[in-house]
Symmetry: C2
Subunit: 228 residues, 2 copies
DNA sequence: TTAGACAAGATAATCGATTTTTTAACCTAC
DNA sequence: GTAGGTTAAAAAATCGATTATCTTGTCTAA
C-alpha cells in the first residue's frame, strides 16, 4: 500500500469542531476554578480569550448549561453557578452513594485487563505526583484513575453521573492551593484502593472509598470556607 | 391603578427565547417517541417544523445532546440515540437505586405541605386517567406525580438524575400504544404509594416503588421487543 | 468486477450583521 | 428624597449568508 499521500490522517488531531474545542477548554477552566462563582460571563471577552466566533461559543455554553457547569437565564446570558455549603454536602453525599455502588460492581465485574489498567493508572498518578508538576497534569491523571477504578461497573448511566459529580466536586476542591499533608494521605489511599480491588475485597474497598471521599470532602469544605 | 395599557404583561407567556421553546418541544417529542431511534436529524426539516431559525435550533440540539437525548458526532450532525435491551436494563436498574433512595429520604423529610401536594398530584393524575385524555396531558401529570413523590428528598442532584432517567426510560415505555390492563395496575400503585408515604412507612414504600418500577420495566421491555 | 479517485451536491459549522431585550443613567413629578 | 418614567448604551438572541466538511454517484484503471 502506497502511503505517499495519507488520505484523511488526523489520527490524533486536536478534536474537530471549534465548538467542541471551546467546550473542552471552558469545562476545564470552570472545573479548575478560573472563574469566580456567581460571575456573569462576558461573552465577547470569552470570544477573544478562546479565539472562536460567537456561534460555536454559544453552542458550547449551551452544552455546559445542560451539563450543570453553567446556569442559563432566559434573555440574560450565562452565569457561573454559585457555591454553597448545602450543595457541597449534597455532592459529597451523592458521591458516597454512587461511587460506592459503582466500586462494588466494578470489583464484581472487572477482568484482568481492568486490573492492569488500574495498576497503570495508579502508577502514572504517583509518578506525576513525584514530579511535582504544576497540577494540571496531576488533575488529569487523578480523574483518569478514579474513572478507571469504577469503569467496569456495568452501568453507562452510573458512570455518567459520577463524572458529572466529580466535575461539580472539583469546583470546591480546587478553590485553593494544594495541601501537601492531606494530599499525601489521599494519595496513599489510591494505592490501597488498588490493592483491595485486586484482592476483590468489595466490602473493605467500599469502606475505604467512603473514607477517601470523606477526607476529600473535608479538604473541599475547608477550601470553601477559607475562600472568601 | 390605570390598566389601560398593560406595560409588559406576558405574566405566563410561552417562555422567553426561541431556543428554550424549541428545546422544550424537541425534548417532548424525543421522549414521546416521535422520532425513530438511530435516525439522523435533518436540521432544515426541523427548522421548518418548529418554526425557528438555525441558531436557536442548534443551541437547543446542543443542550439536548449534553442532556443525553441526542448524540452529537463531530462534523456529522445529530442523531437520535439507539435503543438497546442493555441500556433499558441499565436505566431501570438505576431508577430502582435512585428513586428508592430518594423516596426513603422524602418520607423522612417531607412536611405536611408535601402530603397535600402528593394527594393533589395523585388526584389530578387519576382524573386525567378517567377523562381518557389523548395521553399527552396524562404523561405530564404522571411525570409531575413522580416528581412530587421524591421532591423533598433533600438532594438537588439526585432529583436531577432521576428526572434524566425518567426521560430516558420513557423513550422505551412510550414506544407503543397504551396497555389498559397493566396500566390500571400501575395506577393503583400510585395511590398505594401515596398512602404509604403518608403513613411514613419508608420500608414498605420502597418495596412498592421497586415493584412499580419492575412492572413499568416489563411494559417498556415488551414494547421495545415488539417494536421492530 | 472492484478498489480507488474525483466531482457535484448536500449538510454541518461558522461568521458577520441585525434585531430584540435588558441594564443603567438620568430626569421629572409628587 | 423617592417612585415612576424615559432614553442611551450594552448585551443577548437571532438571522442570512459563507465556508468547510462529508456523502454520493460516477468513472477509471487494474
Amino acid at each position: 500500500m502506497n502511503n505517499s499521500l495519507p488520505k484523511v490522517a488526523t489520527p490524533v488531531g486536536p478534536a474537530g469542531t471549534a465548538s467542541s474545542r471551546v467546550f473542552d477548554n471552558l469545562r476545564k477552566d470552570l472545573v479548575g476554578g478560573r472563574f469566580v462563582a456567581g460571575e456573569k460571563l462576558a461573552i465577547n471577552a470569552l470570544k477573544e480569550h478562546y479565539q472562536v466566533g460567537l456561534s460555536p461559543l454559544r453552542e458550547a455554553l449551551n452544552k455546559l448549561a445542560a451539563y450543570g457547569l453553567l446556569v442559563q437565564e432566559n434573555q440574560r446570558g450565562f452565569r457561573v453557578p454559585k457555591l454553597s455549603r448545602e450543595e457541597l454536602d449534597d455532592i459529597a453525599h451523592m458521591r458516597l452513594e454512587m461511587e460506592g455502588m459503582a466500586l462494588e460492581r466494578a470489583i464484581a465485574n472487572g477482568d484482568s485487563l481492568w486490573e492492569a489498567d488500574l495498576l497503570a493508572a495508579a502508577h502514572r498518578l504517583k509518578r506525576a505526583d513525584i514530579t511535582l508538576d504544576k497540577g494540571e497534569e496531576w488533575e488529569r491523571l487523578h480523574t483518569q484513575f478514579h474513572r478507571t477504578l469504577v469503569a467496569p461497573c456495568g452501568s453507562v448511566w452510573l458512570l455518567r453521573f459520577i463524572e458529572q459529580l466529580h466535575d461539580q466536586f472539583d469546583r470546591y476542591r480546587r478553590l485553593g492551593p494544594k495541601m501537601p499533608t492531606i494530599r499525601q494521605e489521599l494519595d496513599e489511599q489510591h494505592h490501597q484502593l488498588v490493592e483491595l480491588a485486586l484482592q476483590r475485597d468489595a466490602k473493605a474497598a467500599r469502606e475505604l472509598m467512603d473514607d477517601h471521599i470523606h477526607k476529600s470532602y473535608e479538604v473541599a469544605l475547608k477550601r470553601y470556607q477559607e475562600h472568601a
